[in-house]
Symmetry: C2
Subunit: 206 residues, 2 copies
Amino acid sequence: MERTAVRRLPELAVDERVRLDDLLDEALVAHVGIVDLHGPVVLPMACARDGDTLLVHGSTGSRLVRALADGAATCTTVTVLDGAIYARSAFSSSMRYRSAVVYGAYRPAPDQLHALHVLTEHLLPGRWEELRAPTAKELAGTLVLAVALEEWSLKVSDGWPEDEPADLDTPVWAGVLPCRTVWGEPLDAPDLVQPRPAPSPAVLTR
Amino acid sequence: MERTAVRRLPELAVDERVRLDDLLDEALVAHVGIVDLHGPVVLPMACARDGDTLLVHGSTGSRLVRALADGAATCTTVTVLDGAIYARSAFSSSMRYRSAVVYGAYRPAPDQLHALHVLTEHLLPGRWEELRAPTAKELAGTLVLAVALEEWSLKVSDGWPEDEPADLDTPVWAGVLPCRTVWGEPLDAPDLVQPRPAPSPAVLTR
């Protein structure tokens, strides 16, 4: 579709759905944009992919969640930074990243319990089956929203410095410093009364 | 101001400017929202703080950069995820994060060379003085935009599981799995002709 055409650096556009899924299955946070009376509003929300939809989640007391449930036009952007590209000029220096943009209106996920399960398992793998089921009051206080993965674009910068030939002899190092999210050792809750094995940080490494 | 009041979980709102600066000085990517003919658009941009402004940077050929330069109403959100909070119920589980929201119109940074210097040093510390100065053509092809840090809010979730008393005996671990961005070993560019010492990943660790 017209508005999902990647105009800037179109050579970075990726149209394979599996690459979109890979990114969404790695990321934990989406930035959701809506328009209110004053203009754009962009807020971070926990996210997870469920098949052909992207789920986000919030309190029914949240203005953003209510606007989403009412079918507001939205743009949801999910970005993962993968590194810094050191070129031989400031102009050619850039970043490695993957960024997905999804347009469309959210609607409440039709099966809230299933959607909460998917979100919880994405954010805290293995946790859902350890915990009690949500109460009716809890289910009433939270809402999982879903947007279809129909109108989307994906941009992937995974290359190397692209310098002008005249710059190649510059006496500096050139290359990439990669980065990633690392999970550290578990920190016990201050009110942990029954010592139990903590999850391994490996469960959250994607 | 009214729209920067944190309505959801207001106990997480932080109004100390130094905490805002700390977050902006750590983050490398901002999500910038504008409104186009179809609705909201949210795109990731490299960012850096310069005193009382937040800088973002892009090509003069970019629609977003042109819209920003034209004074479009914007919302810029900068989020860093700090961990996963494992509570004794799915409902009480959440994330540790810091998220800043800045409203306002961008304008071209008055001193483009200074602004490029600040951005480059933030993204690639120590690099600016190793590299040649930008050419006139390069300066014409890029634009650094600045938004004043005037209308902003900051939300910081840095706590522990907050469970209902009835859940405290649940036989599961509870606590926090912290996360952070880690920089890995430098990868030489394929066209690196003059081996040189690469920057230490430590220069990018914040």
